[in-house]
């Protein structure tokens, strides 16, 4: 009786790239929901816009590169890129912002390098950095939480019209409704000569909403850890490095530097540590390499957000460490079983 043969192993885990990416998307779902609760439907619309753009761009790129559409459109990585990018943008940002950013991310940062798995730079962060250096004003229009705001929240229709026309409903003005992010507020206030205490107070008015969202992000991250989608090295190294830098500077001069808790819970620290720096494709390879990589991101993030010109440094830090990855990989090849160090 003849049988068909195949190479060992004859069983493989029921796993796929699509499943990995989808798990990450599920882990982000609570964040999106909480975002809606606090800030209205803006983010959801941005995600839809970004996803549509990402899929279009992916289709275009795959067509041009003559690759099969089905497996790559279905793998979810482009959608994840769009979602992460959307999470970094203000919810009422005009529509062309997310479209431009996603297109840059997918076309320039991903497909020019050979598509899924080959991109040395984190596509979402390339998209975000492009937007940040090109359109800084639009990226400053962050909203205060609906609940805390004296204005009634924007309705879905108003949100849509704001995103697509770029102008607010007549009863509102940008200056009235936007509020700086905590990091931004702290920087501004310190530059104004406030003391740290005053600055903190000012900065922390709207923080409770963000703390909930941070909690959701951390929960999602822990879930990813438990699901073995990510490992602890990058998040721990990155958050540890941020905390270490912040503690040192805080110990030296508590009057002008915020403490570690503030830094860990503001800006994109947590999102970066669990969802962005962990992008496997553009991260370092070995465990030791990933520790170096994560710590590098942490230190650079702290430096940029504390002394640099841009409000948060996660995106730049990730990109800078991305470009160091081949170098890190070269010097962190792990010891092989039976070989001396």
């Amino acid at each position: 009786m003849p049988f068909a043969t195949e190479a060992a192993p004859h069983v493989v885990a029921p796993n796929s790239v699509g499943r990995v990416m989808r798990t990450v998307l599920y882990a982000l779902a609570p964040v999106v929901i909480l975002h809606w609760v606090f800030f209205g439907p803006g983010l959801a619309i941005q995600i839809l816009l970004g996803t549509a753009t990402a899929l279009l761009a992916e289709t275009l790129a795959l067509r041009l590169r003559r690759k099969p559409l089905a497996p790559f459109l279905g793998d979810g990585s482009a959608i994840l890129t769009a979602v992460l990018l959307a999470l970094c943008l203000p919810p009422l940002a005009p529509w062309w912002l997310i479209v431009t950013g996603t297109a840059f991310a997918v076309l320039l940062a991903k497909h020019l390098y050979g598509g899924l798995g080959a991109n040395p730079f984190n596509p979402a962060m390339v998209g975000y950095a492009v937007l940040l250096v090109s359109f800084p004003v639009q990226l400053l229009h962050w909203l205060p939480p609906q609940l805390a705001s004296e204005h009634a929240g924007l309705s879905l229709a108003e949100t849509l019209s704001t995103i697509f026309t770029g102008s607010l409903p007549p009863r509102l003005s940008w200056d009235a409704i936007t509020s700086p992010t905590a990091l931004e507020a702290l920087r501004t206030n310190l530059k104004m000569g406030m003391t740290m205490g005053e600055a903190h107070q000012f900065a922390s008015q709207e923080r409770s909403a963000w703390l909930w969202i941070d909690l959701a992000i951390a929960a999602g991250g822990v879930w990813l850890l438990a699901a073995r989608i990510i490992r602890w090295h990058i998040p721990v190294a990155m958050l540890g490095a941020i905390a270490a830098c912040a503690s040192i500077m805080y110990a030296i001069d508590p009057g002008s530097y915020a403490g570690p808790i503030f830094h860990l819970t503001s800006g994109a620290s947590l999102l970066g540590a669990f969802f962005i720096a962990t992008d496997p494709v553009s991260a370092a390879t070995s465990d030791r390499g990933r520790l170096v990589y994560g710590a590098g991101i942490g230190v650079l993030t702290y430096v940029i957000r504390t002394w640099g010109g841009y409000p948060d440094g996660v995106a730049f830090a990730v990109l800078m460490m991305n470009l160091s990855v081949p170098l890190i990989d070269r010097y962190t090849i792990p010891r092989i079983y039976g070989h001396a160090r």
């Binding site: 359109f135 800084p136 004003v137 400053l140 229009h141 940008w174 200056d175 501004t188 530059k191 104004m192 010109g309």
Partner: protein, 239 residues
Amino acid sequence: MATHADVRRNAKAQAVLLVAVAALVSFGLAGLAQITRERIARNAQAWMQQHLEVLIPAALHDNDLLADTITVIAPDSLGTAQPVTVYRAWRAGIPTAVAIRSIAPDGYRGPIELLVAIRYDGTLLGVQVLRHDETPGLGDAFEKREPHWLERFRGLSLSNPPQQRWSVKRDGGDFDAFTGATITPRAIVTALRRTLEYYQRHRQRLFRDPPADAVAGAAADFERTVAPAAWHSSASGHR
């Protein structure tokens, strides 16, 4: 007659050849420098002159502004530890105005170089931004997006608005900021206030020395302005 090959092989000849090239180059360059020296000096003067003319109307002075300068050092008031040039305007030997190359050190991406013209009585004649490195499209709004922003300062003084209102609206002051950019306006407003304060405190000493000889000044090289010996602002400390 040495052939090419001989020269190529002879080390000394090669050295001489290289030195000759260098000498030739420097000869040409030195000649050109000689020819252009005055022109370049005049260009530099003209550049400054342009800015000064915009700020200090001809009616206010009969002296050559570029020729009558003093340098002062006042790190706390003028934003730099370097010597700062002050142009003085006189009319018929009576002091009418000054223009101070003050610096706003706390711009968003670095110092902003200003030229602040102040009437003798302490009201602002105007402000020009000489150099800056603010974020294009954000902090540079005074250039293109809100070109009238700088004009707003004309005629103001430390009492108008009152000194404590010399800040951007966000800080409880009188002045608008740019959309999405408060740091740059705040830096400029603060620098203006400090400059005005400095002027108020030191007006007497700024005009203590009599006007420079107009004739000597016009002929002088810009780089070596005939200026009264630099004096140091006593109020603001020394180097």
